[in-house]
């Protein structure tokens, strides 16, 4: 086996210039595809992480039907031990309750729609690091604090600052009027511009009082750390909780629009990369074609002196794989520092570009991810492409007549 590999390796260097040109074209494709995939995945991961980690969590429990019709009337009644029982089911991971509903926020003549989120201050902080998002003022100290935290986009729109009063008007549980004046104790800032113009936080008990929904919550957020944990916990809860009473959603069901948009973006990216690889494949095929044609005589001699066609095809296949592998390794070596650099120093868009991103609720910061799978995927594509290229010499060798070949 070793000798055949040596033979294949030496064969690719028969024409050094041609091999280097072919390898360089593969290297360019791999470098481009790897960098582009890393950037794209990095951007999406960051966005999804923002949305999942800073707000939705990896899973939520609601009253059945709440997600389709998000009204406070479909809230859950919390018994004193509800959170402890649910937490025990998923390995004592925290369960963080929220009571949320939309309200009109106003100050003087300016009014805007906001999402009032009643939270357990310590639980929410451990889940979403909310306290770290404070840019002014202070975080809640207890469940019964009477102040609110306002996202800085709202504060800007309503021209409010810490210490000012925010007036909230809404419809509470079972149609009761919900109205109140709350001092602003802090301002919070989110990576997602959408959240920045939406969120008003108040302690859970204060929110329950505001909405007339004592002892109730609209959602219970699962304090899980990653997708894998989420999958297991959601599946366990679905098996154990009565589906007539509860619905358990994972993060993909909570943000289907984003998941779908990512799928579309992935598909677009895949098409671009496939076109790129197709162009490179034609170049590589040219090399394989020449390599096969100019060695037809030699193939005839090898079969004549007793080399089986299958072995000969195998050696030629290894040659093509080697050729592609040299290019792929070069491409990866070139891509790694690029990907690493933009992982440490993400691309930050400014000006109109940043505004365009923000309009779509996307943070205008795109880091790359350094994931071995992205590199391995390119290697597999190149391997598949090279194997496909080997069909031509295989066909030639299979039908080769030593006498005819040696006549050329």
């Amino acid at each position: 086996m070793k000798q055949w590999l040596i033979l294949a390796w030496r064969n690719i260097w028969r024409n050094k210039r041609r091999t280097l040109i072919s390898a360089a074209s593969v290297a360019f494709a791999v470098m481009f595809a790897t960098s582009m995939s890393s950037l794209q995945k990095g951007g999406w991961d960051r966005m999804l992480n923002n949305v999942v980690h800073f707000y939705f969590g990896y899973g939520q429990i609601h009253a059945q039907g709440y997600w389709d019709e998000q009204t406070i009337d479909r809230s859950l009644e919390l018994q004193p031990d509800t959170l402890a029982v649910l937490s025990a089911m998923i390995g004592n991971k925290p369960i963080v309750p929220r009571l949320e509903s939309f309200a009109l926020a106003s100050t003087g003549p300016i009014t805007m729609g906001v999402l009032v989120s009643g939270i357990d201050p310590s639980g929410e902080d451990s889940l979403t690091d909310l306290a770290d998002r404070l840019v002014a003022g202070q975080y809640f100290t207890s469940q019964a604090d009477d102040g609110v935290l306002v996202a800085e986009g709202i504060a800007e729109e309503l021209e409010l600052a810490v210490g000012d009063t925010l007036v909230l008007l809404s419809q509470g549980y079972h149609g009761v009027s919900a109205a109140g004046k709350y001092p602003i104790t802090g301002l919070v800032s989110f990576g997602s511009p959408e959240l920045n113009k939406l969120m008003v936080y108040m302690p859970l008990e204060t929110a329950q009082y505001f909405f007339g929904a004592e002892g109730r919550a609209t959602s219970l957020v699962l304090g899980l750390d990653n997708v894998k944990e989420a999958k297991a916990a959601v599946s366990l809860l679905r098996r154990q909780l009565d589906p007539a009473v509860y619905e358990v959603l994972d993060w993909e069901q909570l943000i289907p629009d984003l998941v779908q948009a990512r799928g579309l973006d992935d598909a677009g990216n895949t098409i671009i990369i496939l076109i790129l690889y197709l162009i490179i494949a034609f170049g590589l095929f040219g090399t394989v074609l020449m390599m096969t044609k100019e060695r037809e005589y030699e193939f005839g001699v090898l079969v004549a002196i007793g080399m089986r066609r299958r072995l000969l095809t195998g050696v030629v296949w290894v040659e093509i794989i080697f050729l592609a592998a040299v290019g792929a390794l070069m491409g990866m070596a070139l891509a790694l520092p690029i990907v690493w650099y933009f992982h440490i120093n993400p691309i930050v868009f400014t000006g109109e570009m940043a505004q365009a991103y923000e309009q779509y609720g996307v943070e205008p910061i795109i880091p790359t991810v350094v994931e071995s799978w992205i590199f391995v995927k390119q290697a597999l594509i190149i391997f598949g492409m090279a194997s496909l290229m080997a069909l031509y010499p295989w066909l030639k060798i299979r039908t080769l007549s030593p006498v005819q070949s040696m006549r050329h």
């Binding site: 000798q3 033979l7 030496r10 064969n11 260097w13 028969r14 005589y297 030699e298 001699v301 090898l302 079969v303 004549a304 002196i305 007793g306 080399m307 089986r308 066609r309 072995l311 030593p402 006498v403 040696m406």
Partner: protein
Amino acid sequence: MAVILTRDLYKTYNPDTIPVHALNGVSLSIEEGEFTAIVGPSGSGKTTLLNILGGLDSPTSGYVEVGGTDISQLSENELIDFRKNHIGFVFQSYNLIPVLTAYENVEFVMLLQGRPEKERKERTEALLAAVGLADHMDRRPSQLSGGQQQRVAVARALAPRPSFILADEPTANLDSHTSANLLDIMGKLNHEEKVTFIFSTHDSRVIERAHRVVTVEDGVIISDEGMKR
């Protein structure tokens, strides 16, 4: 004992369009240890005959027995294995593998045979020494002269211990001195190791040294001068 036996060999190219009759009933028997030259003008059918004897081509009709085996009955892979184990080839333009050294070229067919490394090494070194290239083992074909390349080709042909060697115009690309040297080596191997050589040639120097000269013209044997040893 006959190493090769043919009976009424016919070979027609393009039978459905413009038929070319390359062989028209060739019957030939070659004994072990012969040093035979097949001669004839261009287009006489000698290369076709050599290709059929080497299992590289099949006759349109007739019978070919090599080493007691009817090679027309062999499958493609069996025929390749048969050539690998029983026939040594020396081509006009050497046809060494350019990326392998002289040593590796000679070892190549033994690798295909799956011979152990120790045996390969001993035989390769012995054969290269026999053809006077013991000092050139690590050179690639491009670093050898035409005569040296053809001597490596002879060593390669001998490596698998074949029943006979088919040499198609082996001296055609060599100067007279190199040709004489090569013929000396092949003659010595024939004489001392009883290796059977069958040449297709135009070269009078090869014909002079042959023990038997078979002349082919228009696809038939027109003369067969017996053993002159």
